[in-house]
Symmetry: C2
Subunit: 182 residues, 2 copies
């Protein structure tokens, strides 16, 4: 037990901005955040169904920034991949699906240890930002699968809604978009 | 075991339309659906936090339609209230909260029996419509609580999204509103 190190987190709301490419809007901050020591990124594509296509897109982006990228779904031992990672990037998609696979693969305590005790950089985008918080109780995603808990990585002591939209005051639609139903 | 009776379901998407009062848009269909034999409605206010205020509003509406209303949260034995109900109305709010309380109070099999075997009328609105389906995997609500399952009453053999909005093709916001994240 090495005790707590300074947390290094970059939590992004979206992987793309309107009209831009994948992670294009965060290229300079990403480079500053990861710094010169990180050479390889461990990518976690669990939030989307097509992990191969997702990893291909992420790899192209990170390689263009000067980093190698390993996708955890290509590893025979996901836990070992986390234990060896220099930095972790968890991409967006469906937050329920992502959290369920993190639990199914036993990765919650391993990622927590690497970030909170070993101090490796963690980058999250969208669903990857949701799971960095205390819980996913504030996600807007549909519950397409049933994770064993809504508690998440707890890398920060609060929750985030990365896709909050102010209510449309001109709307006459009485359905709920982002309601907690209270 | 009386065997299956004809299902009697009225599944409404919203309790209010823009500018209208509570259930105002469904007064004639409600009366036709419940018919002359039903005298008392069992109301289930579990989807909202303030059950007293919710029951008061529902009672005023149903009394104005000529029905008495009992709210299940005022009963010392919710299961017994379901067993004796002539008709059930489950109102809207947060679908996760509603489903959790239905499970916590052991009401899922009891309501199923009354509707599917005894043939009593079931009215659902919004969250009350969601829980009438196979599961709540297609709700837009936030998961503010963690029910023991996402499976619901299964009164109909499909799921519903009662608040579906067509995508706004003019939006430049890249966040998700109703995405399943696939």
């Amino acid at each position: 037990m090495a005790g707590r190190r300074r947390r290094r987190l970059l939590l992004v709301s979206n992987s793309t901005l309107h009209g831009g490419g994948y992670l294009e809007h965060v290229r300079p901050p990403l480079r500053r955040f990861l710094g010169p020591d990180v050479k390889r990124i461990l990518f976690v594509p669990y939030a989307l169904r097509d992990r191969d296509a997702y990893a291909k897109m992420a790899r192209e982006t990170f390689e263009s920034l000067g980093y190698a990228l390993d996708s955890i779904h290509e590893s025979p031992d996901p836990g070992e991949a986390v234990r060896k990672a220099e930095a972790i990037f968890i991409g967006g998609g469906n937050t329920f699906r992502l959290l369920k696979v993190l639990y199914d693969n036993g990765l919650i305590p391993l990622i927590r240890k690497r970030v909170l005790e070993d101090g490796i950089p963690y980058v999250g985008s969208s669903a990857g930002t949701n799971v960095a918080t205390i819980s996913i109780h504030t996600t807007n995603d549909m519950p397409i699968v049933y994770p064993p808990s809504l508690l998440a990585l707890g890398l920060v002591p609060f929750n985030i809604n990365p896709h909050y939209l102010d209510p449309d005051v001109n709307s006459t639609h009485m359905g709920r978009e982002f309601s907690n139903g209270t």
